[in-house]
């Protein structure tokens, strides 16, 4: 960490505060717009404070659109994805870390390589496959593939499992434990921190995902928040900004809350995902 003298420090403070204001302003604008009336937006657009302060936008979201349903849909898809990715990836990561078998490292290299593949290349054949299976228009294409492991999570957990001392497993073996027991009783409990990191990022990616729900969800009753907001925004020629900002805020809120409660994990994870390549 850099140490500098006092007059310099003042400059650094001023710059940091100014930049922070710039970074935080869009948030304030989002919150403030969501509590404004349409009239204020047209008559006095520059006022930051809502005057009058109304919650019409939120009422409208929940009465004139099916916002609570979109919320539940998003929770459902995200929850199932978490379940799918975390169970399958931890088992696979344990397999890559604990056992010795031919071509293991070559296979792991293949796994790493798939992280580099643009989604656009696999997206079209996947769609055609799910279309053949009759899954398009259901949650299945979003959920079922997650039970086959997520590459980033497998990578993250394997890195961790590799650091677990072999002696732990040897001792358990002496007591007659089989591999499944070693996985559940020793490796998994030790991996709480990396699993939490993985869970956080999988949550973030799934909750905010736009492309997959856009391709696969066609029924208004099944929309996730990102698709619902897109449809609400493009549905009318004159967007209702208080409603759109209120909806955006509600969608971002769970992530912002998570961020404040587990900031360290977030930033460490961002750094790990940075170092992975």
């Amino acid at each position: 960490m850099t140490k500098i003298n006092k007059s310099r420090k003042t400059t650094v403070y001023i710059v940091a505060v100014l930049l922070s204001l710039l970074f935080i302003f869009p948030f304030l604008w989002m919150v403030s717009t969501s509590f404004k009336t349409q009239d204020q937006i047209f008559d006095a657009p520059m006022e930051l404070l809502p005057n009058p302060f109304v919650t019409d936008a939120y009422r409208e979201l929940f009465t004139e659109t099916d916002f609570s349903r979109y919320f539940l849909n998003t929770i459902f898809v995200t929850g199932m994805t978490l379940l799918g990715v975390l169970t399958s990836s931890s088992i696979v990561a344990f397999g890559f870390s604990y056992f010795k078998f031919p071509a293991k490292e070559a296979l792991f290299k293949v796994l790493l390589a798939t992280m580099m593949l643009p989604a656009q290349v696999t997206m079209i054949p996947q769609y055609m496959l799910f279309d053949k299976l009759g899954w398009v228009g259901s949650f299945k294409p979003l959920i079922i593939p997650t039970f086959f492991g997520g590459t980033w999570v497998i990578f993250l957990l394997r890195q961790f499992f590799d650091t677990v001392p072999k002696e732990y497993a040897e001792a358990a073996k002496m007591d007659g434990a089989n591999e499944l027991k070693i996985f559940f009783r020793i490796y998994l409990p030790l991996a709480k921190a990396p699993v939490a990191t993985a869970a956080l990022f999988v949550f973030l990616w799934t909750w905010t995902d736009f492309l997959n729900p856009l391709i696969y969800l066609h029924d208004d009753k099944m929309y996730t928040l990102s698709i619902a907001l897109h449809r609400i925004a493009s549905g009318t020629h004159y967007p209702n900004w208080p409603v759109l900002m209120g909806g955006s805020l509600l969608m971002a809120l769970p992530i912002i809350i998570l961020f404040f409660t587990s900031q360290k994990t977030f930033i460490n994870g961002a750094t790990i995902s940075g170092i992975k390549g």
Binding site: M1, T2, K3, K9, A16, L19, S20, F23, P26, W29, M30, I41, F42, P45, S88, I91, V92, F94, G95, F96, Y98, F99, K100, F101, L107, L111, T114, M116, P118, A119, Q120, V121, T122, M123, I124, P125, M128, P145, F148, E179, L204, T208, F210, L211, L214, L229, H230, S234, L244, M245, S248, I255, I256, F259, F266, I267, A270, T271, G274, G277
Partner: protein, 299 residues
């Protein structure tokens, strides 16, 4: 070693192999079904078109040749390259400067870092809508502010000349993720290097040029590559802000959007598959060039 132990070893080895493969089998199955098969099938599709009755017809290189003659194809490539070529370097410099700033030991350092990082966890759809609103020429706060200073602001997203600057401006709000990686890189630079330089009388600019930047080179390379991958595939915020055609005069028609509309609006799966292979090749070539530039500079 007698024959018996050898047999036992062989058996345990075999057992271990079988167990290992069983444990990783979900990924193997997923890889075959959701990655390998789609990759191969996509390559095949790129040489076909959907004929009568939905049957695939082999047309050789026609999809690729057609793309090269298509105005929108070149336009989307041009737009993507302009957005990346200008946006990525500026974003890198800004993220690095922010990281250096927030690496200074001071009060509220954690708070500042939080504020800078927070926008990068906001959902892309919400970011797109928010910036569409902020950049609103008549009612948005940016033009309102400019007006109060006596300027008349640009049309932003409704002016084809300002669409790209608008998208680049919005991308700066999300530099927090890159900044965090630079911060980690800065913290890995040993203090002794700076102390030694200080003893030699190096001023802060010299320290930046001869210690910080060279030591951060691998991080910069990594961030640039990640920037290229993300930028070449950019889609969500553009479709939210500009709709499917990429705005007025298609000034924001990026390549990701072009693939999407061909595949899922026009259902030209063969053509769109060819486009996706072109994307893969352009990305790989760009990464290779970036790596070479970084390597040559090292010499």
């Amino acid at each position: 070693m007698n024959e018996y132990t050898l047999k036992v070893r062989k058996r345990t080895f075999k057992r271990e192999s079988v167990l290992g493969v069983i444990f990783i089998s979900p990924w193997i199955a997923g890889f075959l079904i959701f990655t390998l098969f789609p990759v191969l099938y996509s390559l095949y599709l790129s040489f076909t078109m959907t004929g009568e009755g939905g049957h695939l017809k082999w047309i050789g290189l026609d999809n690729y040749l057609r793309a090269f003659g298509e105005r929108d194809f070149w336009l989307s490539i041009k737009n993507t390259l302009i957005l990346s070529g200008i946006g990525i370097p500026i974003a890198q410099i800004m993220a690095l400067m922010a990281a250096i700033l927030l690496n200074v030991r001071m009060k509220y350092q954690g708070l500042f870092r939080t504020i800078f990082f927070l926008p990068s966890v906001v959902p892309a759809v919400a970011t797109g809508l928010l910036w569409k609103w902020i950049l609103n020429p008549r009612l948005g706060p940016i033009n309102g502010f400019l007006e109060e200073l006596g300027f008349s602001g640009p049309g932003w997203l409704i002016d084809p000349a300002w669409i790209k600057p608008s998208l680049i401006l919005m991308s700066f709000w999300g530099i927090g993720g890159t900044m965090v990686i630079y911060l980690a890189g800065l913290q890995n630079i040993p203090d002794e290097l700076y102390e030694a330089a200080e003893l030699d009388g190096a001023n802060s600019r010299q320290r930046l040029k001869s210690i910080t930047l060279p030591m951060l080179r691998p991080v910069t390379l990594f961030n640039t590559i990640m920037g290229i991958i993300t930028s070449f595939q950019s889609f969500t915020q553009v479709i939210i802000m500009l709709d499917m055609d990429g705005g007025i005069e298609k000034s924001g028609l990026v390549y990701g959007l072009y693939i999407y509309t061909n595949a899922f609006r026009d259902f030209k799966m063969g053509y769109a598959s060819a486009l996706s292979w072109v994307l893969l090749i352009i990305t790989a070539v760009s990464i290779a060039i970036t790596m070479k530039v970084f390597k040559d500079r090292d010499k």
